[in-house]
């Protein structure tokens, strides 16, 4: 961990009396999809008072297993035992009635409703005659009882991701859940928000409840879980006491062999040197369409053969920055120069034609058409050129061939290229989008949180690809919330705050405290400035 954080205050641990049945027990669970063994012969038991981590590579079957436990899928074999009694859930409603609730990675809140309304939506305890005041008071009481701070009157759309997640958790807990399942909850949180989440989880299990926690971040798993179960290829390979594990031992269990994490620092011998500016942003201003300024006089230079890291707390204009430099959003003022040509008014197609690839922050909703086939999605960037299209036609066979190439390069096994891309596991969707974008990124790659949702090995591979692109002379814009990642990979780091660049530092001489201060809104003074800009 880079930023020093106060230790999580540990509430008194809940120790179940001897002989207590596991709160959740899965026995011999199997789930088959056409051509895929998503789960087979999986046993898992979760004790009251325990935070149980679930680990595994992308596509190992973690989400599927939890979807079975919460009644979204039916197991093809095996049984679910709750408090010692066999149960089966035909829907999440039945699961929550038995005390098992899940917070999915993509939240299911109604954006236009208030927190209080979302909490009471579709809940049998909701009073029949309701006024906003009553709902808000009830929500405030529930939140206080459960020790989660929310503003009952706020609209969901106005909340940060971390706050929205807290509402999701509150929604589950108010329905008297005793087992809380979280699928990659920290992928979208700032470190501070994650810290707060962990405190709430410790509180929750101290009352004799249990948490099942899916994450790819091994340090987090070591920090908060009591035991950890590892899945590989749909099967359980181990359940261990976390205290006896290390990051390396967990990684080895996940992959099944020793994994060597390559060191990214330093440029390889044949690498292109940092070259001329490829893209220059001058004093860019943009608003979000509702009058809020999101980019406020931002200037940046992207150079060939360089990885420019963007640090900053999410929501400080990173998303809009990616949109402006890929032509998806027009800046209100300012100039974008691409190879010296003015691209300020250019659209997404022109940027893509120039050779700009874009791994978007929200891959499922902006980078993919979830209900269309894997083939259709994989060729989204190359459907308009040979061999897929010579102009008018669209060659389905060539499309499938290209999709196979991309999937193979991304190490995603696909049983059927005609199936909707949403059936792929979260991490595999990310791998596919990333590979697709790298293929067209001949000049610039914009990578927003590219490691989100990826397993340890895949993150390492992703980083290696970014370095390879850089060494080939591509300008890479690398947005991340993890300072460690940024420091490992970037040549320079720009820090964003409130739609502005607070300063650009050379990674070699970067000082973590200075970066931290800039993330909080302090401008880099000239004497502290390296030869960054």
């Amino acid at each position: 961990m880079i930023a020093p954080e106060p230790p999580v205050p540990v509430p008194t641990r809940f120790v179940p009396p001897p002989g207590t049945a596991p709160i959740v027990q899965l026995r011999g669970i199997a789930k088959y999809f056409p051509g895929v063994i998503a789960n087979e012969d999986v046993d898992l038991d979760v004790m009251p008072g325990e935070i149980h981590a679930l680990l595994g590579e992308n596509g190992a079957g973690k989400s599927t297993l939890m979807n079975i436990l919460t009644g979204i899928y039916q197991p093809d074999a095996g049984e679910i035992v709750i408090d010692g009694y066999p149960q089966s859930f035909a829907s999440p409603v039945e699961a929550i009635a038995a005390g098992i609730g899940m917070v999915h990675q993509h939240f299911k809140l109604v954006k236009a409703f208030t927190v209080a309304e979302n909490i009471h939506l579709g809940w049998s305890d909701t009073p029949r005659a309701v006024s906003a005041a009553v709902l808000e008071r009830r929500t405030a009481e529930l939140a206080q009882a459960l020790n989660l701070t929310v503003d009952p009157a706020a609209r969901i759309g106005e909340l940060s991701t971390g706050e929205q997640q807290r509402v999701e958790i509150l929604r589950v807990l108010t329905r008297k859940a005793r087992v809380l399942i979280l699928d990659e909850p920290t992928a979208v949180l700032t470190p501070a928000e994650a810290h707060e989440l962990f405190r709430a989880l410790k509180d929750f299990v101290a009352r004799g409840n249990a948490v099942i926690f899916i994450s790819h971040k091994l340090d987090e798993v070591l920090e908060i879980s009591d035991r950890v179960t590892v899945l590989r290829g749909g099967r359980k390979v181990a359940t261990e006491q976390t205290a006896g594990c290390t990051e390396t031992s967990l990684a080895r269990l996940m992959v099944g062999r020793e994994i060597v994490l390559s060191d990214m620092r330093g440029r390889s011998a044949g690498a292109a040197p940092i070259g001329a500016p490829v893209m220059t942003l001058e004093d860019i201003r943009a608003d979000d369409g509702q009058g809020h300024v999101v980019l406020d006089g931002l200037s940046l230079v992207l150079r060939a053969g360089e990885i420019l890291g963007i640090a900053g707390v999410a929501g400080n204009g990173q998303k809009e920055l990616t949109q402006v430099i890929t032509g998806m959003r027009q800046a209100a003022s300012g100039r974008i120069l691409v190879d010296g040509a003015d691209f300020s008014r250019a659209g997404a197609a022109e940027f893509a034609d120039f050779g700009v690839g874009h791994i978007p922050e929200d891959r499922l909703h902006s980078g993919l058409a979830p209900s269309l086939s894997i083939t259709d999605n994989a060729v989204l960037r190359e459907y308009d050129r040979p061999p897929l299209s010579g102009g008018f036609g669209f060659n389905g066979r060539a499309a499938t061939a290209l999709a196979k190439d991309i999937a193979e390069a991304a190490s995603v096994t696909v049983p059927d290229f005609g199936m909707p891309v949403r059936n792929l596991s979260g991490g595999n969707q990310q791998r596919l989008v990333a590979r697709r974008e790298m293929r067209i990124a001949s000049r610039v790659l914009v990578a927003a949180y590219p490691s989100r949702g990826l397993d340890v090995g895949a993150i390492n591979m992703m980083m290696r690809y970014l370095v390879e692109l850089r060494d080939k002379g591509v300008a890479v814009l690398f947005i991340s919330e993890e300072l460690e990642e940024l420091l490992n990979l970037s040549d320079r780091i720009a820090v964003m705050f409130h739609g502005r660049v607070m300063g650009v530092v050379d990674t070699a001489e970067a000082d973590i405290d200075t970066i931290g201060l800039m993330m909080g809104g302090k401008r880099l003074t000239d004497d502290a400035k390296g030869r960054g800009h």
Binding site: A349, R381, Y383
Partner: protein, 345 residues
């Protein structure tokens, strides 16, 4: 051992098909019960319908004639849905197409080999013009096309009624509320079934191929499925929306052109016979697939024809309409239920 019901995201094709079949059977059984309650013998009536529809080439020809406009209007609605546009105005575009084609037939002199193709083009353009304003309003001002296309139906209906009884009324004085018989008509190739049928099938195949095998079709598929992804990939969403909606209107216009030039031979008020609205149902049955429109339109034509047969047996129009509605209702429920399955608890 208890059993419970679970919903799944999409039904396997075999189950979906079985649900369709079951829905039709159930609808017929319900209709039979209603008819029996009204004092008819449902079995005899059913036999009568079957015999009249399939037992003679006359029945099949009637179905063949009915299916032509249904293919066009069903295809029109399905095409709109490809990009997420709900064209409820196929009815109005039908009238506009019929009107334009009639205008050409009545007022442009020339040999049939020239005038018929001209009528075809006029029908398509008439339909496209009728959807032009809703299209532009949707593309540039995000005005919901559902309402605008629907409202224009009433305008078109009244407009045609007015020209057919007013300015274009048959000058011979023999017809009271129609234009004169058109000087040209689409030739017949099988009994009373005219060449509109093969043309309709070809148009379906062409449109299907357009979506499956062209770059444009790919872009429309992406744009219809997730507009944000289309914007991300730099596809001109607005241009595609306009093109697709105009295509939808043009196809609906062709329905009107063939109805007036092939089947009715005169323009008159009410010529659309609700084919525009029935097209919405055809598209729903076809699940917005262009090729799927063919069997869906055939089923709808058989239902409509059975209704006509029932009317000749002394059953009121409203009963017939109720039965038609029942079949569609059961089919819709069947489609939904196919997505549930029973699991052992």
């Amino acid at each position: 051992m208890a059993y419970r019901i679970q919903r799944i995201p999409s039904a396997p094709p075999s189950v979906a098909l079985a649900a369709r079949g079951l829905a039709i059977v159930l609808a017929l059984v319900t209709a039979g019960i209603v008819l029996a309650a009204l004092g008819f013998n449902p079995l005899a009536l059913g036999w009568q319908v079957l015999r009249t529809t399939f037992g003679s080439s006359y029945g099949l020809e009637d179905v063949g004639l009915l299916v032509i406009p249904l293919i066009f209007t069903g295809l029109a609605v399905a095409v709109g849905q490809k990009i997420g546009a709900q064209n409820i105005g196929a009815e109005g575009q039908f009238y506009a197409g019929a009107f334009a084609a009639t205008g050409v037939a009545l007022f442009v002199p020339g040999p049939m080999a020239v005038i018929l193709p001209l009528m075809f083009v006029a029908g398509a353009i008439g339909g496209a013009i009728w959807i032009l304003i809703p299209t532009l309003a949707r593309a540039y001002a995000d005005v919901n096309e559902l309402i605008t296309t629907l409202l224009l139906n009433f305008v078109a209906t009244l407009l045609v009624y007015w020209v057919a009884t007013g300015p274009w009324l048959d000058p011979s004085g023999r017809a009271l509320a129609t234009t004169a018989r058109l000087p040209h008509e689409v030739p017949e190739f099988w009994g009373i079934v005219h060449w509109g049928l093969p043309v309709a099938v070809v148009v379906v195949l062409l449109v299907g191929a357009l979506f499956a095998f062209t770059r444009w079709g790919y872009e429309v598929r992406i744009a219809g499925s997730n507009p944000q992804a289309a914007r991300y990939a730099g596809m001109p969403f607005r241009r595609h929306l306009i093109m697709v909606m105009l295509l939808s209107g043009a196809i609906a216009g062709l329905a009107g052109m063939f109805e007036v030039a092939g089947t009715v031979h005169r323009l008159q008020g009410g010529i659309s016979n609700n084919f525009g609205y029935l097209g919405i149902m055809v598209a729903v049955l076809a699940r917005a697939s262009p090729i799927g429109v063919l069997p869906a339109a055939a089923l709808m034509a058989i239902i409509l024809n059975s209704g006509i047969v029932l009317q000749t047996q002394g059953i009121t129009v409203s009963t017939v309409l109720a039965i038609t509605g029942l079949i569609l209702f059961y089919t819709a429920i069947g489609d939904e239920l196919a997505r549930y399955r029973i699991v052992r608890a």
